[in-house]
Symmetry: C2
Subunit: 153 residues, 2 copies
């Protein structure tokens, strides 16, 4: 039987991302951040999350460079949480979660909040496309090529 | 202080998806399934995962309708695990994980396995686009509209 590998050894950026966003509260905090929520009490009120859990998840997101803090009040000192470029770049992940969830796992149609693309003005869904030809990807037309270094497979 | 809400009460398909794929072993199993791995021992060998953990994650994926089982041997009875349509539809999520992870969190360039789009033949990255106009999405040009029903915000 092969030795058990740690997740880090698997050297996989898919798993690395899952590690960061693979926590439900984290995903809900990120959703709220994309909706414009910035302050601890506003996250807390919106999510009804325990304050210690919220503080823990915000600290992890700051440590991962996904959120950054900015002071907005001196006495008492208070700061708000803003998405960094690295954080804003998670939009694709959240849109992909949402599209799949709405299609296969939606709790109730009435709770779906439509997305509007401000560039074309339409209500839309995100679709993952090839950055070369612009066509939508499909499991039948994507092939994973060998890596440049020998890996454990 | 508002009552703590359960994640289910938050009625959010983003969080529902995170619940399903927000486990690192699950994501690695899905990655392997997209790479064509089907059998228990092959998943086990590739991931070096403990057999009880693998059995648990596979059972959850079958229960969620993401993998389906198909017998391939009678004596002793053995079955393999295949992605369902619901499972294949997670390609966008894995491509989004991967793109973000490669960009912001890649362990080592040598371990990145390029993706080829068989339709245009190019090595590519996935990019999330609007299904109406085909343009790439960006946090500045996506707006979340109110849901049809009153929600808790």
């Amino acid at each position: 039987m092969p030795a058990r590998k740690s997740l880090e050894e698997l050297q996989c950026s898919v798993a690395n991302t899952a590690e960061l966003v693979g926590d439900q509260w984290t995903v809900l905090i990120l959703r709220d951040a994309f909706l414009g929520i910035k302050r601890f009490d506003d996250f807390q009120r919106d999510l009804g999350i325990a304050r210690n859990v919220l503080a823990d998840r915000l600290a992890r997101l700051v440590q991962a460079g996904i959120l950054d803090t900015r002071p907005y009040q001196d006495r008492p000192p208070r700061h708000e949480y803003l998405l960094t470029e690295k954080g804003k770049d998670l939009l694709d992940v959240l849109v992909a979660f949402r599209r799949w969830g709405d299609k296969w796992n939606a709790p109730d149609d009435r709770f779906i909040r439509p997305l509007r693309h401000l560039e074309c003005g339409e209500i839309m869904e995100g679709v993952m496309c090839c950055n070369h030809c612009g066509q939508p990807l499909d499991h039948r037309n994507v092939r994973v090529e060998p890596s440049l270094a020998p890996v454990s497979r």
